[in-house]
Assembly symmetry: C2
Homo-oligomer: 365 residues x 2
DNA sequence: CTGAAAGCGCTTACAG
DNA sequence: CTGAAAGCGCTTACAG
């Protein structure tokens, strides 16, 4: 009887290269490379045998070597404040999806809303020779030289959501004005007439745009804007709650609230539920952002969807177009403005009038 | 008067290399390289002048070239089902944070729970010469050869959350058994006695562990396990709802449900709210995962927090240790088990007995 | 249809 | 303390 013992020395086992394949087939690395890249001047027979040998030797292309030679990496750099914020997680999802479909990988860099980290991130990505960068600017950033550097190096740059027009690069944003207009108009269509707005810090562009959309929607429907019904919160659950409490205590209280974003709306909802007008839709409520929780709270929250994954996809698609352009053609930057989507749910649905305590009858026995 | 016109030809402007710096200073690329890498045998004066020239010429190291030469990339590959799931977004956040602190970049690859995509992702990362891979296995995956390939190539592999012991690689998981035990014990402490469990596909380790924790907690408190009260769902809202509906129709119905994760719990909650036992806590409910929505639904959901960002950080830290090890030392795989945290909320809080319709009195006038 | 050779930009053992 | 040379693994213009 015999024992066969196979010892594989991983330590000294270096990875298969095209030279190993060439040696195996008594040909050259050039031929192997061409065969693997399906070069037209290589015979079918050669391609076949090269592929078989590659398989047999478990060959994997070394993309680092390929990148160095080709001068491109097939890597897309993404710079965002944090992957831990669902909005950005969703955008990354869209970016990576499109990137993968085009043979690109995604390097992720988080800034944590810090300017220094953002500068560092851009620098690292440039060193890594990424073929393009998609970014959402940190809240703290006021100097944009690092983004100009990207532009100067002729590397496609696309900004999403938090974009700066003055940089002259392509951008993907959602139409906040229109989203707010739709939200307000929706409440009007539900026969709400005294519609309040809980806004955010007015110096932030998107909040300002939403306020404008609210005001214009009222005007479009000949509803007078009542300054008393506009409050400025701090974009949080607690702030939404206290703003709503104030609004509901007004002598001439609102019959609906449009909140600047979903967390504010959530706080407002708490205040509404604790008020005498706590039945779903009795005081209409619309948020903005379609956060993960908004479909699941009670009542479910009507809100504006920002098409977050779509935003990422669009940004990646713009990159795919930009990379085609030879550097000679200076094309004008693209500006994609996504359509907001109204997601109508219970929080803005008027309760059926007349019939009282319908509730019990809806219960499945 | 004179006009100075600076014309910079970006098209033909190729990036500065160490050779450009060397030419500028009448020295060689070798010296420049050593100076930039702070090699001890280079004089302080030379280092100084090289750094100045590098700055002046706006030099950025080409990491691709460096990687090819050094045989390592300082890139960590991360393979997850989807960045759009808050759990994974949070884990990536933790991974990237630690990676960055050690000079590593993160390449992200999403599998969308598809086996084929997972295989492709691993292959791409290997081709990209990542220095290590952190992954969470797709639900669909039952063949693990692609992970063995990573191991065989001697590339550090760390699995998190959805890990497989048989692969013999380092893992970071939360103690699912203990979390389920805590969840069940919590229900028992709230005087629930007929506690049902909606599990997930039993071949998935974490779901199996949670089932065990549930069973053992009952046993520890001398409550007989009733097979009728254990159902196997598909880990979704709809599945949770229909499983709960079934459970509630049993002749001897449960008075509490421990759901295998929060979406299942959410569906179960819908079923409970439509049942005759719809008052908060009347039928106790606990989920698992502390999803974004769980704090905000009504009633708020008691659940088990998995310390997601911490999980990512731990995985990245293990990598940082593994990479130190020379390939000669075959160290045993590490197994980090994180402590689950019980987050007690309304869904498992017993309604006050005796007093009826207390509700109205809690409303602030 | 295939091969020999050069080169992408870096790092480092070897020599001085 | 610095330089000349080789090489990481690939791709491709050029030659045959």
């Amino acid at each position: 009887m015999r024992f066969y013992i196979y010892v594989i020395d991983y330590v000294n086992m270096s990875r298969t290269t095209i030279h190993d394949i060439a040696k195996e087939l008594n040909t050259t690395a050039a031929t192997v490379s061409r065969a693997l890249n399906d070069h037209p001047s290589i015979s079918a027979a050669t391609k076949q045998s090269v592929r078989e040998a590659a398989q047999k030797l478990n060959y994997q292309q070394n993309r680092v070597a390929s990148s160095l030679r080709l001068g491109r990496t097939n890597v897309l750099g993404v710079v965002i404040p944090s992957a831990d914020i669902s909005f950005f997680g969703s955008v990354i999802h869209g970016i990576e999806k499109v990137a993968k479909a085009h043979g690109y990988n995604v390097i992720l860099f988080q800034t944590n809303e810090q300017y220094e980290d953002e500068v560092q991130g851009i620098k690292t990505l440039l060193q890594s020779n990424v073929d393009g960068i998609i970014a959402s600017i940190s809240k703290e950033t006021t100097n944009y030289d690092h983004f100009r550097e990207v532009k100067d190096r002729n590397i496609p740059l696309i900004l999403f959501d938090r974009a700066i027009d003055s940089l002259g690069v392509s951008t993907v944003v959602i139409d906040d004005y229109k989203g707010a207009f739709m939200a307000t108009e929706h409440l009007i269509s539900q026969d709400y007439t005294r519609i309040a707005h809980i806004s955010g810090p007015p110096h932030i562009q998107i909040f300002h745009d939403r306020l404008r959309g609210y005001v214009d929607a009222l005007a479009a429907h000949h509803i007078k804007v009542d300054e008393d019904l506009i409050t400025y919160g701090k974009v949080s659950i607690d702030s939404g709650r206290s703003c709503a409490e104030q609004l509901l205590q007004l002598p001439n209280r609102p019959d609906a609230i449009f909140a600047v974003e979903d967390f504010t709306a959530l706080g407002a909802l708490q205040a509404i539920k604790e008020s005498p007008w706590h039945r779903p839709g009795e005081i209409g409520l619309v948020g903005f952002a379609n956060e993960a929780f908004s479909a699941y709270i009670t009542p479910s929250l009507t809100t504006i969807d920002q098409q977050t994954a779509h935003m990422g996809e669009e940004a990646a698609k713009i990159f795919m177009e930009l990379r085609q352009n030879t550097t000679v053609t200076e094309t004008a930057p693209q500006k994609v403005v996504l359509e907001p989507l109204l997601i109508a749910r219970q929080s803005s649905t008027r309760p059926k009038p007349k019939k009282k305590s319908l509730k019990a009858s809806t219960i499945v026995p």
